[in-house]
């Protein structure tokens, strides 16, 4: 699409689903701002939600590289998330039972290193297996990781968890003092509450910047990798592994590479979580996290990078949105089972009515250049014809 195109042309170039999603996102953003203005959402909590969405987007980007690109049915997402969080926490936290107190950068590197090791430990035995065996085996191995983290007291503090994790930017030259240095602001909303922007707000702003950086880098790398020749091999493996093998590709090696790549992105989400939450505990490795991320990926559309981001945001909306139901005391429901039910219903509905997901990969798989060349001459004609279809 050329930049000279008007917005109307862009709009008609979208599929029905894309239009729906765009409209839904616009409505949702509007709702959030309404919440901000009326004081239901504090700005700090709003940023926390944005950070959490970014974290889930990272997790689903990672899983998407494994399942969406390569067809690996990995049920050990929670283990990689947990290893990322624990790797970061163990090295940087003051309460670490191992050598704590290092700069968070080292925690980040350690977490990524541990994720690679874990990916090899889980991947080497399981990636040769049939798809459904891989699901069961990886879920079992993730449980092994959780059991070890929970019971290996002298390494991980066991069920007590690890406290005293610093913020990610604690030792950075300017950013460490940024939240305190910024002036406190008070925004008076006409006929509404006073919104205060203080140090916690700016601290959270840094977290959001961090997760945006993580998501941005991961998205760029993954989207680029997906379109590369390497990504094409992965897609071939997903649709027909025997064919890929017949073409002379070492499919096991390719699957391992995709598995490690996805696991690194998941661990990145764990690192961010450790510095966002400032506390990690074995419950963070609970398999339910894995299933949340699966919902995000299949809802967004398997293989679609932007779908993964969209799914991540939806999952955060479900997880955090159900908390608001607590405020309505007259509702005779408990929130935890409602959340479980919502996740279950979404999985079933998507598989029943739209198994390819809400935003299946379409143009993502095409080089932007080739679209431009094809679209230049018959551009207006194509648009007219779609408009004509709409009128009939």
């Amino acid at each position: 699409m050329t930049t000279s195109q008007d917005t109307g042309g862009y709009w008609s170039g979208l599929t029905v689903a894309e239009r729906g999603v765009t409209a839904a996102i616009a409505a949702f953003v509007g709702l959030l701002f309404l919440g901000l203005l009326t004081g239901v959402l504090t700005p700090t909590y709003f940023l926390f939600l944005v950070g959490l969405s970014g974290m889930y987007a990272l997790l689903s980007l990672g899983l998407n590289a494994q399942w969406g690109y390569t067809g690996l049915i990995n049920f050990s997402v929670a283990a990689f998330f947990g290893v990322g969080a624990y790797g970061a926490a163990l090295l940087s936290a003051s309460g670490s039972p191992l050598a704590g107190g290092f700069d968070p950068i080292f925690g980040l590197l350690a977490a990524l290193g541990m994720a690679v090791v874990l990916a090899l430990v889980i991947g080497v035995p399981t990636l040769r297996l049939r798809a459904d065996y891989l699901a069961i085996a990886s879920l079992g191995l993730a449980e092994v990781v959780r059991i070890v983290v929970k019971n290996k007291q002298d390494w991980t503090n066991g069920t007590a968890g690890i406290r005293g994790i610093p913020g990610f930017f604690e030792n950075w030259p300017v950013l460490s003092t940024f939240p305190d240095a910024m002036p406190g602001l008070q925004i008076h909303v006409p006929a509404g509450p006073v919104i205060e922007l203080g140090a916690p707000f700016y601290g959270m702003l840094l977290n959001v910047a961090l997760v945006f950086a993580f998501v941005g880098v991961s998205y760029a790398i993954l989207a680029r990798a997906h379109r590369s020749p390497w990504g094409r091999v992965l897609r071939t493996i997903r649709s027909d592994e025997d064919l890929a093998r017949a073409l002379g590709k070492n499919t096991y090696s390719f699957k391992m590479q995709a598995f490690v790549l996805g696991s690194l992105v998941m661990a990145l989400a764990g690192v961010f979580y450790a510095h966002l939450n400032l506390y990690v505990q074995p419950g963070d490795l609970d398999p339910i996290t894995t299933f949340y991320v699966w919902v995000a990926v299949i809802l967004g559309g398997s293989g679609s990078t932007r779908g993964a981001v969209f799914g991540g945001v939806v999952v955060v909306t479900i997880r955090q949105g159900t908390r608001f139901l607590n405020e309505f005391a007259w509702l005779p429901v408990d929130v935890a089972p409602l959340r479980l039910l919502a996740i279950g219903v979404i999985i079933v509905l998507v598989m029943r009515f739209r198994p390819e997901g809400v935003l299946p990969p379409q143009k993502e798989l095409i080089w932007p250049g080739s679209v431009d060349e094809a679209a230049t001459t018959p551009d207006s004609a194509v648009n007219q014809s779609t408009r004509g279809d709409g009128d009939e």
């Binding site: 459904d132 069961i136 079992g140 191995l141 059991i147 089972p337 479980l340 279950g344 979404i346 999985i347």
Partner: protein, 314 residues
């Protein structure tokens, strides 16, 4: 180390795992997907029995320390699990056209729906059947075995159900058709077997056995909405160990997995159990790692012999 006691406990736990794994294996072989909702089907059976027991708990005399009403409630649990499974099959699985991986993912959603509904009705807290706890059977205590009549009831009922299934599979028309369909669904259909009907019956039997397993799990430990899901991976391990699709393999696998799970404490005292090994020898692994050991065994089996103990090498 009371080895006999551990073996006795392993036997009871194995009975529960066997009930779960036989059903899972049946469904795996005929519906052809890994049903992640199987554990929660067990929970459905357990809670249905809990409700039924509230109504009929006082009925009749006592058998093996359990009121007759408990066995009525057991039947209700089995029926409810089977009914829920059929409704799910008709409503959800049958209209789907997404392949076995899609069905697997759908079954996760189904599992959450079951669990969410149960948790709404009964809260997340653990509860128990209203049967008074028993003292261990006196005659066995001198041997170091402390099991109650309830445990004996669990083992006996499980044996009855499994033998019943064996008779059904080997000597009835339905059983022969089920075996034919598990072997080769296409061939079964062209031979005139109404495979959709057999599929339904498979769900009934598989989910019914799961329901029974859930009731006994509730009697053995207690009931909680997560009980079935927590057991699911052990049940999968049993099915894989025995060989996916092989019902008799699932029985053997369930027995072995239940035993391994309960016998883990022996590892740290191996020396006193094994002959020819010094008494101080032992592998210091606590009971808290028991399930981790089972899962590692499961992965090892998948690697070395993906077809399981009783499965045919393909």
């Amino acid at each position: 180390m009371p080895v006999l006691e551990l073996i006795a406990n392993g036997l009871v736990f194995s009975s529960i795992i066997v009930l779960g794994s036989v059903g899972l294996s049946l469904v795996y072989s005929i519906a052809d997907f890994a049903n992640f909702a199987h554990g929660d089907t067990m929970t459905v059976g357990a809670y249905s029995a809990l409700v039924a027991f509230g109504f009929v708990g006082g009925v009749g005399g006592a058998v093996l320390g359990l009121p007759v009403g408990f066995f009525l409630a057991l039947c209700v649990g089995i029926a409810a699990a089977a009914l829920v499974a059929i409704v799910t099959e008709k409503l959800i699985y049958e209209p789907l056209d997404v392949g076995s991986l899609g069905l697997l993912i759908t079954s996760i959603g189904i599992a959450f729906i079951y669990r969410g509904v149960i948790q709404m009705g009964f809260s997340a807290d653990a509860t128990r059947f209203g049967v008074p706890p028993l003292r261990p059977i006196e005659a066995l205590v001198p041997y170091g075995v402390r099991i109650t009549e309830h445990d004996v009831a669990i083992v006996i009922t499980a044996i009855v159900l499994v033998v019943g299934l064996h008779v059904l599979l080997q000597y009835t028309d339905l059983g022969r058709k089920m075996r034919a369909m598990a072997d080769n669904p296409e061939l079964a259909r062209v031979s005139g077997i109404r495979t959709d009907r057999i599929r339904l019956w498979t769900w009934v039997i598989g989910a019914g056995l799961a329901g029974a397993g859930g009731v006994f799990l509730g009697l053995f430990n207690n009931l909680s909405p997560r009980m079935g899901f927590n057991l699911l991976l052990l049940v999968f391990a049993a099915v894989i160990l025995g060989g996916i699709g092989s019902v008799y393999g699932a029985m053997l696998g369930g027995f072995l997995i239940g035993m391994i799970r309960q016998l883990t404490p022996i590892l740290s005292d191996l020396g006193s159990v094994l002959p020819l090994v010094p008494d101080t020898f032992g592998i210091p692994i606590g009971i808290e790692y028991a399930e981790a050991i089972v899962f590692l065994i499961m992965v090892a089996v998948l690697l070395v012999r993906p077809s399981g103990i009783a499965g045919e090498a393909s």
